[in-house]
């Protein structure tokens, strides 16, 4: 796929030189590149409701994740986001079914009894006619949301949020660490729930079902609270939040720049949105942004942190980020050119068509699957040494149901 090697002496050698290297800490792709790529795909998804194009986007993201994800725990998040996307789609459909849809339609699927609502609730409808057009529109819309989520999931699986954090400006780093530590909380919580549910079995209570989940709730929360206090103490003792001495004028300048900048951004945005403010809106917005950024940079002086091996932004990062940007740009352009293909009409009902050029442009998003460094292959079925301590909740099988029959065990 890397077809740009014409001047090399012999094609095979040049190809092997261009082939993606094995990923290691030193050549790791900048986490920001993955997020830009994913945001590019998400932008494309937000510009279309064509289910064929959306499905293609999900496939592209899924292929890249499958080709380039590591074995780390966070790399399993793609499937979790996929499920979340399906859930969103389902909820959207359920709402459209019961609450009706503003889309006029003639193909009535079923007529639900309509709930009479008082006058002040005008415009809200519960029950009534469910039309095929309305459901189709809801499905397209839900699919768009689901695709957006899947794009975020892809970024999550390919670049751990903690690595993205390394590239934040110094002034925001501490906040970022707090967010990341909070995010590691969820997996711990899941592991706790599993352990406590297993322990219920030892007390002779059912270990499955909703009741079991609810009854371990309080102990799990108590444990989580204890753990967060312990982590906070450890972070404090390890120097989290150390600050350098900053002279008072610099501190005041920082506050002024950040506040003034944010004010400028707000006013500028407002002006841009009103009809006649475009003339002074743009410069105000730009000035506000510049002031806020300068404030952040100045604020970074307070932080004494240094960075250990930050990710470098190299050619491969440009290619990955660029492929995302290209997908976004192409879709935006196509949206102007063939709006009816990207947003297929649901009234009257018609099967969506696959527009050739927009679809081809989405395939640009596959580039990272060939240029990003290749993660090392998992080293076979190595015995999990950490498994005894509930280390990897993802790989654990559920406690087996006791009703399933098994060949060799017979009660005498």
């Amino acid at each position: 796929m890397t077809a740009r090697a014409p001047d090399a002496p012999t094609a095979p050698r040049a190809l092997s030189r261009l082939r993606a290297p094995e990923a290691a800490r030193g050549n790791a792709l900048h986490a920001g590149a993955w997020w830009l790529w994913a945001l590019g795909l998400a932008t494309a998804a937000s510009r279309t409701t064509n289910p064929l194009l959306l499905a293609l986007l999900v496939t592209v993201a899924g292929y890249v994740v499958a080709a380039r994800r590591t074995d780390a725990p966070w790399a399993h998040s793609y499937v979790a986001f996929l499920k979340l996307g399906l859930l969103v789609l389902l909820i959207r459909l359920v709402f459209a079914f019961f609450l009706g849809s503003p889309i006029p339609g003639t193909h009535v699927l079923v007529t639900l009894p309509e709930l009479p609502l008082p006058d002040w609730a005008q415009g809200v409808r519960v029950g009534g006619r469910v039309t095929a057009e309305g459901m189709l529109f809801a499905a397209y819309d839900g699919l768009k949301l689901a695709t957006l989520l899947v794009c975020v999931g892809a970024a999550n699986a390919l670049a751990s949020p903690a690595r993205l954090l390394k590239s934040l400006p110094g002034a925001l780093y501490e906040v970022g660490v707090a967010v990341v530590v909070a995010m590691t909380f969820a997996p711990h919580l899941v592991a706790d729930v599993r352990r406590l549910r297993a322990a219920r079995r030892l007390r002779g209570r059912a270990d499955r079902g909703v009741a079991a989940l609810l009854q371990v709730g309080l102990p799990v929360l108590e444990g989580a609270l204890e753990r967060s206090v312990a982590v906070a103490a450890a972070m404090d003792a390890r120097g989290y939040g150390r600050t350098a001495h900053v002279p008072a004028p610099v501190r005041h300048a920082t506050s002024a720049l950040v506040l003034g900048g944010l004010l400028g951004v707000c006013v500028g945005t407002y002006a841009l949105l009103t009809a006649d403010g475009a003339a002074y809106g743009t410069p105000l917005l730009a000035a506000g942004l510049a002031a806020a950024l300068a404030g952040l940079r100045l604020g970074g002086r307070r932080s004494v942190r240094s960075r250990h091996r930050p990710d470098r932004w190299g050619v491969r990062a440009w290619l990955v980020a660029g492929s995302g940007a290209a997908v976004a740009a192409a879709t935006v352009w196509a949206d102007g050119r063939w709006p009816e293909a990207l947003r297929p009409a649901t009234v009257p009902l018609a099967a969506p068509e696959l527009p050739l050029w927009p679809a081809a442009s989405l395939l640009l998003g596959l580039l990272p699957a060939f240029v990003a460094p290749l993660p090392p292959a998992p080293t076979g079925p190595e015995p999990e040494r950490g498994a005894e301590r509930d280390a990897e909740p993802e790989r654990r099988p559920e406690p087996p149901p006791y009703r399933r029959p098994h060949r060799s065990e017979e009660s005498p």
Binding site: A24, R25, A72, P73, A162, V177, P187, A198, A199, R201, L202, R203, G204, R205, A206, V216, P219, E222, G223, A230, V231, A232, A233, A234, M235, D236, A237, R238, G239, Y240, R242, V304, R305, S306, R307, H308, R309, P381, E382, P383, E384, R385, G386, A387, E388, R389, A391, E392, R395, R396, P397, P399, P400, Y402, R404, H406, S408, E409, S411, P412
Partner: protein, 586 residues
Amino acid sequence: MIRFEQVSVTYEDAAAPALHGVDLTVPEGELCLLVGPSGVGKSTLLGTVSGLVPHFTGGTLHGRVTVDGRDTRTHRPRELADVVGSVGQDPLAHFVTDTVEDELAYGMESVGLPPYVMRRRVEETLDLLGLAALRERPLATLSGGQQQRVAIGSVLAVHPRVLVLDEPTSALDPGAAEEVLAVLQRLVHDLGTTVLMAEHRLERVVQYADRVLLLPGPGAPPVLGTPEEVMPLSPVRPPVAELGALAGWAPLPLSVRDARRRAAPLRDRLPAAPPRPTRTDPAPGAPPAADVRALTVRRGRADVLRALDLRVRPYETVALMGRNGAGKSTLLGALTGMYEPAGGSVLLGPASLPGGPGTARAPEARAGLLARLRHRPATGREGDTGGRSAVPHRTPPDRLLHHVGLVPQQPLDLLYADTVAAECAAADADAGAAPGSCRALVARLLPDVPDTTHPRDLSEGQRLALALAVILTAAPPLLLLDEPTRGLDYAAKGRLVAVLRELAATGHAIVLATHDVELAAELAHRVVILAEGDVVADGPTPEVVTGSPAFAPQVAKILAPGPWLTVPQVRAALAPDADRAEGAGR
């Protein structure tokens, strides 16, 4: 290096100070061991050094603590981070990032070291702690010993002048503990780091200590001195020192090597072998309490247990040993039906003790007709009515608990209620036992705990006793304990040993998964060593533990080649009339 001046700490809502009248200096470049029974304020003392007490925990600190000249009253913990590194009991609660290399760098990043210094120190630390092969690994996938080493490395990389460690080897197998201690000693010798460490398992650490800081009891003044000076006064002593005290050696020996040099006369005084342990044998035809045949358990894609055979009989105590991750907990899980076997079978014995109807009754005898209806098996075929065997993963929990009981690594996992009394009532209801059964057991195991105490406020040993009482309420003939001595001091351990012996004598079969060789020597009739999911050794305790240095208790090493394992054995042999009762269990 560390100066305490008239330090006392009082927590809010506490009647008495947690720490009182500490006035001493820990010199630079020494390994100082903090010793004392549970609840005398060891963790509080460690916390005052890193500044977490009182800045983080609250409470009032009187007096002054200075570390390398910095007063902890005016310096917050984060401002001491470049001087003091502290590592707690649970490495997972220490981690901020998600991979080994980032974790090692985190402390240095906070302190603001330049990148080239960090890069060099990360590499050095990886080598020093033997972590180079793990540098890219996510922390959650490491074993306990590896995690503890990463936690120590992450504070070491900052090059603190003082290292504060709270029970660094309690959760580790003997091999991993040796690794960690070797690293600490290297730090003290090569880098001149001052190490202040609290540890219950003195047999592992006392020979490395330059100084011992003894907190003899709540309110009593602390004693600082060389180990030889302090150990005779200490209420907690490793077996080697106990043996020395018994034999009247002065100064007390602290390492096996010291003791061996002086042990020749003692070896001559002792008879050829200790008396055979008095143990009731089950009736010849009685079914085993647990019968594991060719068991394979798979977690993920890994075979955690491979074609494993194990039979445990009533009246028998078996110690399961082996490094972290060898499959001990998984085997216990399989015995309680948490994992479905991928191959082979697990069969539990009948739900009544072989000791007869007097010691425990089948559930039906105890719980009336209603319970009998509820206990009626769904299929009618594999149901147990007290006299039948059970397949753990197919037995519903409410029947399984009459066959097998497991006290997990963290006893708190078993406790849900907010008072001891409520916990006992719930346990009675779960087990279908007469109201008050559990409370009676608690009263025996934990004599002076009021009904209204919250289980989280109990000490480690008290929680274990409460969890044990909850499990015993259902009178399971097979009792499993996962790492029961973690965090217990010698007194609590002694009480546990007495209780478990009594249970074994009434016909319970007991399986302990443990890293504590002294406990295994004291209690177990049989030791089974697991490695990579296989049984690599299985036999009577004296033969197995004396066969390998890693698993031999200190007394065995000192009195080798004689087959002596514990101090009580030796004491009984030396004074047969006076102390027969104490040695009888062996």
